[in-house]
Amino acid sequence: MFAAANLDAILLTAKLASVVTLLLLLIGTPIAWWLANTRSRLKPPLEAIVALPIVLPPSVLGFYLLVAMGPHGPVGQVTQALGLGTLPFTFTGLVVASVFYSLPFVVQPIQNAFAAIGPGLLEAAATLRATPRDRFFTVALPLARPGFITAAVLGFAHTVGEFGVVLMVGGNIPGQTRVVSVQIYDHVEALEYGQAHELAILLMGFSFVTLFLLYAFNRRATVPGT
């Protein structure tokens, strides 16, 4: 059904989005938990940093990531010292870039879900001698489930839809960094509109269905008695 090159791009994109979503849930949960519960003065600046990718153009993020991960940049110095080489033009580099880029889409829903639980239930659990660990795993996590589902879906979809950052740090290597959005761009530039359509319509359908299912799910989760 798809041209081989397009299929490669689809598989690569799915792989990238899956890895990034898993990592983001692991990294984002503690950040969200801390943000939801802290009264620290560091909360507003940290929230601002997490939200930056929402307002910054991908060209800014991509440019800084390219420089930071390059051989003279701070991240590049560390990865080289560890014997990993530099990250741009590699799948790992794309994962790192995408984690930054999609961070707010995962942290914010989880943070909101944690905040909505409120202190009451957690304090009640504490009076029943639940340790902070128990309270987190047996009270907070299950109650925040809708937030996690929203976070995972948005993180995945946003990574699939990423373009500018990948273009700037990827180097357009088939099977490594040539994801669907870049492949579409290439097709359009080369005036291969048929091939571009094939992928673009797929992305359009995927995005609509994903968001539709998410909103349908959230409605059911919030309408009482259904």
């Binding site: 390219l66 051989p71 741009p88 273009l167 180097g171 357009n172 290597i173 761009y185 290439d186 005036l191």
Partner: protein, 247 residues
């Protein structure tokens, strides 16, 4: 208050329509630096103003076909302007070669690229940047050069592609790719190579990169557009062009 806001809004929206002696020019990325210098001289000589947009030739072609408001197009190749003329989107007879591009193998590190480009066969690097050969003439010329050297299959795994020649230059300039094929014009400063090391690829390694300019259909009656194309052929403009390493 509301009326004043609406008036201001109307003025803002209409302002681009009232400038007469301005020409909108789409310029291939590799020609960005010389074109800025040329336009400064053009302004002094004629009083006309030129607004420059830089990008990949293939992108400009798609935009022009879809009604982009450019008056003049300075392409990185000779095929695209010819195609536009055939399709009735460019003024017949206005097309000419304003520059012949020179390809250079460049590294931001001094002494990394030797004067004969033998570093390519030694292969002591992880990434070789080229512009996308499907879209960018300098990328196609780079692939022809690798073919001629018999290195295409050896180096295939090390190739990273910039979307256009400007991004390719950025990959090499930031050190993320140790070396790459760029346009000589991008690394020339005051008539010599500004930083790093380079091999100027001999002309016989690839088909000539003839860069053609053309007046687009919307620029037919634009005095500034016609003046700009005349100016491009003039001696001062050609001197600037040659100082950037074009042949």
């Amino acid at each position: 208050m509301i009326r004043r806001t609406l008036l201001a809004l109307a003025l803002l929206l209409l302002s681009p329509l009232v400038r007469a002696d301005e020409v909108q020019v789409a310029v291939a990325s590799n020609f960005a630096a010389p074109m800025k210098a040329i336009v400064a001289e053009f302004g002094k000589a004629t009083g006309h103003k030129a607004q420059l947009s830089f990008g990949a030739t293939g992108k400009f072609y798609a935009q022009i076909r879809n009604g982009a408001p450019f008056h003049v197009f300075l392409s990185a190749d000779d095929e695209t302007p010819a195609k536009l003329e055939q399709e009735g989107l460019a003024e017949p007879g206005s097309r000419f070669t304003y520059a012949v591009g020179t390809l250079a193998l460049w590294s931001a590190r001094p002494d990394f690229v030797d004067a004969k480009g033998e570093v390519l066969s030694r292969g002591t690097f992880a990434h070789l940047a080229i512009a996308n050969p499907k879209l960018a003439p300098y990328g196609a010329a780079a692939m022809e050069t690798l073919d001629k050297l018999g290195l295409t299959s050896t180096l295939q795994a090390k190739l990273v592609q910039g979307e256009n020649i400007a991004q390719t230059h950025q990959f090499v300039g930031s050190g993320n790719a140790e070396l790459g094929f760029v346009a000589l014009s991008q690394i020339m400063k005051d008539g010599r190579i500004g930083a790093g090391s380079a091999w100027i690829v001999p002309a016989e390694m690839h088909r000539p990169i003839r860069q053609d300019a053309v007046i687009l259909a919307s620029g037919r009656d634009n005095a500034a557009a016609n003046a700009l194309l005349r100016f491009l052929r003039s001696r001062p403009a050609q001197a600037i062009i040659r100082s950037y390493g074009y042949r």
